[in-house]
């Protein structure tokens, strides 16, 4: 019986393989260097695709440069010829298109699906006098320049915009917020721990690492609703501020991707996020699932674009 079951499973796997062989194995295009967030996501998705038997072999190509613009240009230019290319990207594609750093937007590509999410988080050092987000806001209401906020990138980057938006939701002028830019997330963390700055604006996954090791406390997170695994972390919404922000990571294909291929990718990614192989990879990296097929993904992109545009206009990064 056991033997027969094993064979049945194998046969079923074989059928599954055959049905997915309509489309070749995916070639992942990564707009940044090895080891970055995009790189980890693409390689993790590729690994899980292969392990779960959805693909026999995934390949990867790192193409950094031009703030991610080079990879987009390459996808537009040669993605259709090969027809197997998926580019990983995240919120910066919206952000950099708005600020004009890249001459493209997601509209020049075919959004396929978003896969995972991270949220903005505000972190203070363990010995900070601030015990809650409300206390930070109370201080900012007296003097908006009194709390220095660190982030892992230049002004106008995601860390900055999320912080500005969060204080604005509490009625504080986002332009007066003192954002201190660092060269990378790690350096910003060092800045917070050295006592140089009072608060850190970062992603939830990094914030959780700092909180778990007892170095820092998370005051608030920008998730739309409390996070299942960490219900004790207050969201801005639960504190009564109308602000949410999702940093998605997802995949794009070349423009003019045939509908059949899009459907195939969607099915494949959907099967992937339900697989136990993906679950292992996801848990290992501390990611949160956010699977959105194309139409939902585009809606989210449009909403995010509108949201970011307002903040960027207010802060003067985009002309009205």
């Amino acid at each position: 019986m056991k033997f027969a079951l094993k064979h049945l499973k194998l046969a079923m796997a074989g059928v599954a393989m055959m049905s997915t062989q309509v489309l070749a194995d995916t070639h992942f295009l990564i707009p940044g260097g090895p080891g970055g967030g995009w790189d980890t996501t693409a390689r993790a998705v590729g690994e899980a695709l292969v392990k779960s038997g959805l693909e026999s072999n995934a390949s990867f190509q790192n193409m950094s440069g031009g703030g991610g613009g080079r990879a987009i240009a390459y996808l537009i230019e040669s993605g259709n010829k090969k027809g197997d290319m998926l580019m990983v990207n995240s919120t910066p594609i919206v952000l950099r298109a708005l600020s004009g750093k890249i001459p493209y937007s997601y509209r020049d590509l075919t959004p396929v699906a978003s896969v995972i999410a991270d949220y903005g988080a505000f972190v203070v050092r363990d010995d900070s006098p601030f015990k809650s987000w409300k206390e930070v806001i109370a201080r900012l209401e007296v003097n908006p320049g009194s709390v220095t906020v660190a982030g892992g990138s230049a002004r106008g980057s995601m860390d900055h915009l999320v912080a500005a938006q969060a204080v604005k939701a509490a009625g504080v002028d986002g332009r007066k917020l003192r954002y201190i830019p660092y060269d990378a997330g790690g350096k910003a963390k060092a800045g917070l721990l050295s006592g140089e700055v009072k608060m850190l604006s970062t992603g939830l996954s990094e914030a959780l690492d700092m909180a778990k090791s007892g170095q820092a406390r998370i005051l608030a997170v920008t998730a739309p609703e409390p996070i299942a695994d960490y219900p004790e972390i207050p969201t801005l919404k639960s504190l009564g501020y109308d602000m949410e922000f999702v940093n998605w990571r997802g995949f794009f294909a070349a423009p003019d991707l045939p509908q059949a291929q899009l459907d195939e990718y969607t099915v494949r990614l959907q099967k992937l996020v339900q697989s136990k192989e993906w679950e292992a990879v996801r848990a290992r990296n501390g990611w949160l699932n956010l699977f959105k097929p194309q139409h939902e993904f585009i809606e989210a992109l449009e909403a995010q674009e509108a949201q970011l545009k307002v903040v960027m206009e207010e802060l003067g990064f985009v002309r009205r």
Binding site: G35, S99, A190, G214, R284
Partner: protein, 502 residues
Amino acid sequence: MLDGILVGLSTAFMWQNLLYVIVGCFVGTFIGMLPGLGPITAIALMIPITYNIGADSGMILMAGVYYGAIFGGSTSSILINAPGVAGTVASSFDGYPMAKQGHAGKALAIAAYASFTGGTIGALMLMIAAPLLAKVSLSFQSPDYVMLMFLGLTAIAAFSAKGQFLKAMMMTVFGLMLSTVGIDPSSGTERFTFGQADLLDGVSFLLVAMATFALSEALINVIRPEKANQGSNDDDTPVIGSTKLSGAEVKEMAPVVGRSSILGFIIGVLPGAGATIASFMAYATERNLAPKAIRERFGRGEIRGLAAPESANNAACTGSFVPLLTLGIPGSGTTAIMLGALIAYGIQPGPTLMQDNPTVFWSVIVSMYFGNIVLLILNLPLIPYFAKALTLPRSVLTVMILFFSLIGVYLVSFNTFDLFMMVGFALVAVVLRLLSFPMAPLLLGFILGDMIERNYRRAMMISDGSISFIWERPLTLGIFALAMLVLLIPLKEYFQQRKVAQ
């Protein structure tokens, strides 16, 4: 601590972990030797493999690749003037002239011994004082980095030959200017990109180093074959030289290596600096400390000028494990990948790592001793074979240098724009070198300029536009005073000499 070391010993000396150290060191040396290609790519590609072998073995393997690359990177710096990794750029300042003068064997041996000592002293300090040193990494704030980099800039004098101070200054300013290309680190606006998307991310340090050293050297060899042949290999003299060091040389270098290892380690501990800065700083410090007669030999094949950066970069590489393992703060791209791997193993980086996962912490440190021995054993016997490259006819060697430098830069970015930019820089460098402008100050200005700017602007923002940050903290003021001292002492000597002359 003793328990920890014992745990580390028993884990690191399991046969499969010994094997991973050897594999890591071998891969690292190889990757390091290829000009341009650094440990970051190798480690990133290894990550999927390391998930299957457990956290201890994975970290041991990746660490081996990291310090192995810094160890091996000096080979191409010395032999063909093309730095293998950014951290060994300074090793070519004196290493390459030594090779040219027919002492390639000795230069490679010095690099190997200095690397070994730097790595071992680093591992020792890591073992004794890692938790204590965590406080050091967090005691440095932006103003302190500004002053540290300022102290580094005072080394320009160290990179200028006699009577060429003005030229060295001009090259430093050129380097500072180059470092401003790309996205402004504070405001996020584009600077000097001329609408070129390829310039958005700035110019890579390795590209500039490769263009101004290896490429331009090869081109000059083509233009002026008669100059290149001096003391070189078209006659029948052996060019590799002996790998043996004399007792006097060992005695001379021992204090240099000791000081540079400690300096390098401390700079490596700081998350805002790293192996490259450490090697430059050690080079400059040793030049300033050397007696006058030896000081003038720096840049022309002085053994101290090779031993200093080689021990400092390996010690700094080891030092960068302090913020990584005790605080969860990556100081470089390579350690950032290793941090990601730690998290993926389900290990919580930060101050609790030492208590929660003592095996990971201690086995990595203990494996470093073994790794350094492996590297020494691996590298020393190979020296004569590597050095054989120099016995190739110049017409072949020059072409190979051109090929390896261009391929090296291309393999990092896969961008043809970088190749054109590199050739452009090399042509400019050829003209400047023919006018006897020194190239090292350009690199110094380039690497320090970016860090000074970021930290200075951050310090100004935090202090709300006041320069009071210079004297508000004793550490900042102390480094500032040291920098002024280094600047002013040569001036005093200069005026004394004038007085005597009068």
